[in-house]
Symmetry: C2
């Protein structure tokens, strides 16, 4: 009903038209993010996105189905990028403490370098269509699984505490995420770089044995 969608934004697609299609979809998402940043989410119209991406109404609806569809795709795309970057980063770590520090550090760097996307991700973490919620749930589950698979040996070795699975991420990332959220919504002026070490230490303290 919605259209193609043969790959998530990561996967390499077949060459030819599909590549061009992928490029067009990405240019739409890029335009949408810019609009959201400048005009606010409620403030941007489908025409704003259309104009900025040089895409016709028809194409837009062909590829995304609705305005909400664009917003959801953008969200899932952003989460995916963040998660993949994070996994790439921690996989080169060789012990628990280093890994936990890497999580906090990468989150700080990524959000500082991708402020519009970070702001967007923070702006709507709840409230999705059932299908998008489903996809998001899967993304989160896969991420948690991947992270835990990586951390499990550390837990077994006794470097980290044994805790309920769904508490690790909040314990490690919760504080820095909350700090960044407040910064991004303008409640305080200081970016997270100065407090990176503080939050990394706190994270490690929360989960170390």
């Amino acid at each position: 009903m919605t259209g193609s969608n043969n790959q998530t934004s990561t996967g390499r697609a077949r060459p030819g038209r599909t590549a061009a299609t992928q490029a067009r979809k990405e240019s739409v998402l890029e335009a949408a993010l810019e609009c959201f940043a400048e005009l606010g989410i409620e403030g941007t119209t489908i025409h704003d996105i259309q104009r900025r991406s040089n895409c016709s109404i028809g194409s837009l609806y062909h590829h995304f189905g609705s305005k909400e569809g664009i917003a959801e795709e953008l969200f899932l795309d952003g989460i995916g990028r963040l998660n993949r970057g994070m996994l790439r980063k921690i996989k080169v770590c060789s012990n628990a403490e280093q890994s936990v520090h890497a999580v906090v550090g990468y989150y700080v760097e990524w959000t500082t370098r991708n402020q519009p996307m970070a702001r967007y991700l923070h702006s709507r973490d709840v409230d999705f269509s059932p299908q998008a919620r489903q996809r998001l749930k899967r993304i989160h589950r896969d991420y948690i699984t991947a992270v835990f698979t990586f951390f499990a040996p550390f837990v077994e070795r006794g470097e980290m505490r044994v805790l309920p699975l769904d508490t690790y991420v909040p314990l490690i990332s919760g504080p820095i995420q909350e700090y960044v959220r407040r910064w991004l919504s303008g409640h305080h002026p200081n970016g997270p770089r100065k407090v990176k070490a503080l939050f990394a230490d706190a994270a490690w303290n929360a989960v170390k044995s």
Copy 2:
């Protein structure tokens, strides 16, 4: 331009018409929250709110100025309630550890008892009109000030670490907030009650001397 707005939702207003007005505004906000919960934020129309609150279009716009105005007022109202409840709760505490535990505990109880509002608060913490952002910033600043005024003696007595002002809230509330957010958006089924103690201990660990 927008209309009256003689009091925030807390303040006792003069009797007579004003009281009725206040009641009407609150009934609109209540209706809006119900709609957001059932239909999603983007999914609810001004007419949905209007129907459910038995309020005419005219009244709606007289009191709130726009749909976004309703959403903002609802948000500020909710944050205000949460903050005031929190302050009330911690003010009866007599030492730092007890206070920190109270913060986490109250957050768990409040969000469990006010799930629709909690979900709404999580759904849009960023992305507001400049004026609303300003009001929100003030609310946050006042809250932080009040909390810190309360905690300051504990810091002086050496019960708590000396940290940058804007890091206390993320360190204490960040993990439980993140846990609750994930729960509310359906990523895991368990409510926060079972992990309350765990997160309270972690919070205390993060800020104790």
